[in-house]
Symmetry: C2
Subunit: 246 residues, 2 copies
C-alpha cells in the first residue's frame, strides 16, 4: 500500500502541516494503486465523471480536440497531482486524459471528497487552495498562449516545468528529463511542430536552453525567466499560515 511516501501527502504538506488523522484520511484516497502504461487513456471526453485520480508516479496530460483536427493540451500532470478536479461540478468529462509515461494512479470517487469535507476543515481548505492554485496555473498559461511570442512561450513553459519538478525533486540543478515530443509541446503551446523545432534551435543559439532528445539543460535560469517574462509568484506564494490559525 504505502511502500513509498504518499505523493499526495507530500503535496498537501506544501500547504500546511497535517495531523496523523489527516494523513490517514489522505492515505485512504490512495487506496487502490493501479499501473497504467504510457499512451493509455485514463478517460475520454463525455465519459461519466464520478471520480478523481491521484497520480502516484509518471506523467499525464489532459487535452481536447478541435474540429479542424488541432489538439490543445490543457494541463500536464506530475506525480502528486490530482487529476480531474475540474470536473467535480460536472457529470461528464470535459477533457481527455492520457498517460505520457508509464505510471501508477489511484482512483477515488467524488463522494469521498464529501467525507473529507465532513471530517477535516484543514483538508477542505487545502483542497480548496489546490483548486485555486490550479486556477492560477491556468491563468498564467492563458496569458502565455494569448500574448507571447513562440520564444517566450517556450521559455516560459520550460521554466514552469523546471520549477514544478524542483518542488518535489530538489536535487535537479539546471537540467531535467522532459518526456514530451515536439508535437506534444506544440499542442501545449499553440504552435506547429515545425515552429517548436525552429524555436528550440533559436533558443539554443542564444544559449538559453540546450536539449538532447528528452533531456533539457538550462544554463542560466534567470536569463530564461527574463526571456519568458516568468514571474514565479503563482507557483511559490502558496503557503498559507492563515489556514492553520483559523
Amino acid at each position: 500500500m504505502d511502500q513509498d511516501k504518499s505523493c499526495i501527502i507530500s503535496h498537501f504538506s506544501h500547504y500546511c502541516s497535517l495531523t496523523e488523522e489527516e494523513k490517514a484520511l489522505l492515505n485512504e484516497l490512495e487506496e487502490s494503486p493501479t499501473d497504467i502504461k504510457a499512451g493509455a487513456l485514463l478517460w475520454a471526453v463525455d465519459a461519466p465523471a464520478n471520480e478523481f485520480c491521484t497520480l502516484r508516479s509518471g506523467w499525464a496530460y489532459s487535452y481536447r480536440h478541435l474540429e479542424n483536427g488541432d489538439r490543445q493540451i490543457l494541463e500536464v500532470f506530475l506525480p502528486g497531482d490530482i487529476i480531474g478536479l475540474r470536473e467535480f461540478a460536472f457529470s461528464k468529462r470535459l477533457e481527455n486524459v492520457r498517460m505520457i509515461t508509464d505510471g501508477v494512479v489511484c482512483h477515488f470517487p467524488h463522494k469521498r471528497m464529501l467525507e473529507l469535507f465532513r471530517q477535516s476543515l484543514t483538508l477542505t481548505s487545502v483542497m480548496f487552495a489546490i483548486g485555486s492554485r490550479q486556477q492560477a496555473l491556468l491563468t498564467e498559461r492563458l496569458v502565455n498562449l494569448a500574448r507571447r511570442s513562440a520564444r517566450q512561450k517556450m521559455s516560459h513553459f520550460l521554466h514552469e516545468m523546471y520549477l514544478r519538478l524542483r518542488q518535489t525533486n530538489h536535487d535537479i540543478s539546471g537540467q531535467f528529463r522532459l518526456p514530451l515530443s515536439q508535437e506534444q509541446l506544440a499542442d501545449i503551446l499553440g504552435l506547429s511542430p515545425v515552429h517548436v523545432s525552429r524555436t528550440f534551435s533559436a533558443l539554443s543559439e542564444d544559449g538559453l536552453v540546450f536539449r538532447d532528445r528528452h533531456h533539457v539543460t538550462i544554463p542560466d535560469l534567470k536569463a530564461l525567466a527574463t526571456e519568458g517574462e516568468f514571474d514565479d509568484c503563482y507557483l511559490t506564494d502558496n503557503v498559507r499560515p492563515l489556514l492553520i490559525s483559523a
Copy 2:
C-alpha cells in the same frame, strides 16, 4: 440590506436547493454592500489578498499587464459572481480587478470562508463546484485563445456572454447590452483593437452578429455556435444532484 434578492443565493441555487439556514449563511457574505464607480480599481496586483468580493450589480473584469505594454483580460465578472476565488491560496493579488460599469460589491474575508466550510457541507460543496466551474470557463477560454481564428474567438466569446447573461436574465432573446469597448474586447481575445473592428464587420456581413454601439444582436444563435465551435456543456452541465444526496 436585502432590498433585492441576493445575487449570491440565486447563483448558488443553480447548483442545488438550499435550506433557510444556508441562505442565512450566504446572506452574511453580502453584509456590507458598497457602491463602486465604473472604471474604479477594486484591487491591484501585489495588494494583500485576504478577502473575496461578491458582485451584487454591475460588470467587472480582472486583468494583467505585460512588459511590452499589452494587457490581457482574464475574466469578465457578472452580477452574482464571486471575485478573487483564485487568490484563496495566495497572500498577494495576482490580478488587477476593475469595474466596467457602476456597481455594488460586498467584501468578505477569507476567514469567513472557513466558517462556511465548518457550518455547511452543502455550501462547501457548492463553493468547490463553483471553483471547478471557473476552471472549466478558464479552460474553454484558453482553447479559444490558443487555437482559434479571430472570427471564431469573437463568435465564441459573444456566444458565451449571451448564455451567461441568459442564466440570470431569462427574458433576453437574441440581444443584449455589452458594455465593452473594442479595446477591451481586444484585450480579452488577444487581438488588436483594429482587428476586432474588422472582425465585427466581417461577422456582420455574414449576418452572424449585428451591433450598434454597445448593443449586440444575434439573429441565429446556432449559426454563431457553429462559427465559434461553441459547445455549451461547460456552462450548462453543472447541476449536481449527487451533492445533495450525499
